[in-house]
Amino acid sequence: MKQVLVGSLFMAISGGAFAAPVISDAWIPEQPPGAMASAVFLNMVNQTDKPEVLVKAEAPGFKLVQMHKSIEVNGMHKMIEQKEIVVPAHGETRLAPGGYHIMLIQPEKRLQAGDSLPVTLTFADGSHETVSVPVKKRTAMSGMMKH
């Protein structure tokens, strides 16, 4: 019921921005106490003939919001800040654990399961959409990376 509500809310908010990609599966892992950073994961589907480019992400209640990509080189994990995240024409880009994510830095208060956060995404064509992203507990499976 909650998911349906969140989904319809999202449809209402983003309904006006036709050019922007379709966002789904958005979630934020609940933060452990003491954690100073968290992440937003979601899926973007581009149904148009032109690439869509995510250039900015914003959320209230954090010192900084950045776009990052986790990569692994010879067993070493690195995070690289991204100025843009491209969604190819008729393609999709997944923000998922171990890959792209929107990094939420230094929260004013701890995010807990059951909360939701409005995250605003701005694209290179000027369109933007706000998604209400639910906070959920991580499970062992949500951590598995796709290879």
Binding site: A35, H68, G98, M103, A140
Partner: protein
């Protein structure tokens, strides 16, 4: 008189001989007993004994993407770390347990929570499939500038109350991470900047009760696959 004296001397000599033989026999018995106990101590319980080097070097992992054993065990150097309950030192920390060791930092938004969640999924599986083994998960923060013992403790306990969080001075951290090749790199930042990132190794390291690293479990970490690999490792190398 002299006859009596002779008899007495004979008795004394034979008593001495008996005593001597008794001591010899006792000595032999005691030394046999000690060596028997010694063998037992050497084998010891599964949570105390050293890894057999020949069996370790003969072990071949079925899937190197899940587990890589070392051909010879690597001693974790002695170092001192802080926990929320006071100081702990290596290699004493490893005694009486089999340890899964992981490095990271609590500021980490993506990979550390992912890896600690996988460890929290792995631990109950191992406790079920290898019930005689006492497991310990140790998370070493390589970010002592921001990670206080209290913060690390709260952070790891979020994933599993059984996890232990430690940190220490830079020299102590490097003393154990360098020989284990658990690399990390702190990104350049100005003094006072508290939002810097750290690149770091993502493998779990298996450490034996005698404080030796014997295997690496590289990411991505699938609890079911790691459980299988560790059960086979214990069967062929430890038990």
């Amino acid at each position: 008189m002299s006859h009596v004296r002779y008899e007495c001397r004979f008795l004394h000599v034979s008593l001495t001989l008996v005593r001597f033989l008794a001591v010899l026999a006792l000595g032999a018995f005691v030394s046999f007993g000690i060596s028997a106990c010694g063998d037992q101590n050497q084998r010891g319980s599964i949570n105390e004994r050293a890894v057999d080097i020949q069996r370790l070097s003969a072990f071949e992992s079925k899937d190197l993407l899940v587990m890589r054993s070392l051909k010879s065990p690597l001693s974790v150097p002695s170092a001192e770390f802080m926990t929320v309950n006071g100081l702990v030192s290596t290699p004493e920390l490893f005694k009486g347990h089999w340890t899964l060791f992981y490095i990271g930092y609590t500021f980490c938004p993506d990979v550390c929570p992912t890896e600690l969640t996988a460890l929290a999924g792995l631990l109950p599986r191992l406790q079920q499939s290898l019930p005689g083994v006492k497991w310990q998960v140790v998370f070493l923060s390589v970010d002592p500038e921001r990670d206080t013992p209290k913060r690390i403790n709260e952070y790891v306990h979020y994933f599993d109350k059984q996890f232990m969080g430690i940190s220490g001075t830079r020299s102590m951290i490097d003393k154990v991470t360098k020989p284990m090749k658990a690399g990390y790199r702190i990104s350049a930042h100005t003094p006072g900047d508290t939002s810097y990132e750290i690149d770091h190794d993502t493998a779990y390291r298996l450490i034996s009760p005698d404080g030796k690293m014997v295997a690496i479990l590289p990411s991505p970490h699938d609890p079911a696959a790691m459980d299988q690999a560790l059960v086979r490792f214990f069967k062929e190398v430890v038990q």
